[in-house]
Amino acid sequence: MSFLEIEPFRIALYVVGALAFVGANAAYLVWVERKAAGRFQRRAGPTEVGPAGLLQPVADAIKLMSKQIIVPPGSDALLFRIAPVMVMAPALMCFATIPFSDSIVARNIDVGLLMIFAFGSINVMAVMLGGWASRNKYAIISAARVVSQNVAYEIPMLLTVITMLMVAGTLNLHEIVKQQEAGFWAWNIFRLGTNPLMPVTFVIFFTCMLAETNRAPFDMAEAESELVAGAYTEYSGMGFGVFFMGEYANIVIGCAVATVLFLGGWGSPVGFLPGVWWFLAKMYFLIFTVIWIRWTFPRTQFYGLLNLSWKILIPFSLATLVLTSIVMKIPRMF
């Protein structure tokens, strides 16, 4: 029995690996974001620390870690300290089921997709508790917003996921990718034969993912120009740092799920390079799109945000669900 098969060792290895992946992604996605924002606004972005500002995230991390964490008087000290942990821990759980390639997956379980959504939904509670525990009026407004926003967007998101489930017939992420392996025309986003509205389903999923991860133009929970920093207003040092890492971890998870569900996972459109590189390329392209959208569109109004979900996304996702079931049922009737 090789030491890789010993269960506690595997779990420890997974936790270290997932933490390193999340940490590296959070640090360098901030760098990419600042560089991209610079380009979008015709300036250079970070340039001072290291070549092209590449060491800026390291400097930022050291700064955040050396800062004192202040628990404001009058706040709920226990909840205030727990909230950042509650953002980070479920995000780590989600990575366990994401298949990065045919062989790189921590746990290939049958309800993988459901598990990601289950642990992804805890994020709301953490941001809300953080905002509430701060006893700060901006933070409490943000907490109230984050709940109504997430409740509104969870519905169309899960409706699109149900549509995808009917197409795939399994909750196992590995299986879902296997079904799309034939080539790029077999990717779910292009399978117009099963559902002529498939690209629309993808757009609905992607929009909901942006809202669920509180990214601009839907970042009502943070809204710097209205709410200081929303739920994170009272957090300093690594308290804020962990929230920030959790936010980027959720973006990575959301884009990874979109890649698996719609873009054929590790499947390669042309044939060369091992699958894991294709997976990462698709995932980082989606992440770049998220950044791109943030620096292109202004923040929506809160009512506009809720109207978009209840009046447009939910009816459309219901329509795609019904349409898919009809399209799938018709051939079986004859």
């Binding site: 049958d110 309800v111 459901l114 598990m115 992804g120 509670m125 508790l129 525990a133």
Partner: protein, 175 residues
């Protein structure tokens, strides 16, 4: 020894966590802590279900209860007057009443479970667990499922009726 010991350790950690957080739900001072403990209890329970290899039920429990129901609980609790709630003292009478209700319930639960213990755990869930549950829900259990749906709809309509301006629950708009 290795595998069994690990299972044993995980079981007792999860069970102790579930019981401790369930106790916190009733003993906690701040209603927010209580609601959070309820979520913790649900998550520990989900862990126990994973140990029984009922992955679907575990994921649904976390998704529906910890992710949606408790979030709405917390949302409502945030709107309450927490100072008054936290100051309220629970006397010996409340403790006695609680014990009087919980004691027989615990006894009944123990009596119901006793014949099942020692059987080496529940049978493993079938490999196509999700399809299995789906088929059962839409064949044998379709009536209970529909009744639950109608109940939720009635509750929702009732809530809308109470909260609309001029409704029974609207203090300002009342003549």
């Amino acid at each position: 020894m290795g595998e069994t010991f690990l299972e044993w350790a995980v079981f007792w950690t999860l069970a102790a966590g579930a019981v401790a957080s369930a106790l916190m739900v009733v003993a906690g001072r701040s209603p927010v802590t209580c609601a959070l403990s309820l979520a913790c209890s649900m998550i520990f329970g989900a862990g126990l279900m994973v140990q029984m290899r009922a992955y679907f039920i575990a994921a649904i429990q976390v998704l529906v209860y910890a992710g949606a129901v408790i979030v709405l609980f917390l949302f409502i609790v945030m709107l309450m007057d927490l100072k008054a709630e936290a100051m309220r003292r629970r006397g010996g009478v409340a403790l006695l009443a609680g014990l009087a209700v919980c004691g027989p319930l615990a006894l009944a639960g123990w009596r119901a479970m006793a014949p099942l213990s020692g059987g080496g755990g529940p049978p493993p869930a079938p490999p196509d667990e999700v399809q299995h549950i789906g088929r059962l829900l839409f064949t044998d259990y379709v009536l209970p499922l529909e009744i639950t749906g109608v109940l939720l709809l009635v509750a929702m309509v009732g809530a809308v009726l109470l909260c609309r301006p001029g409704g029974a629950g609207d203090q300002e708009g009342r003549p």
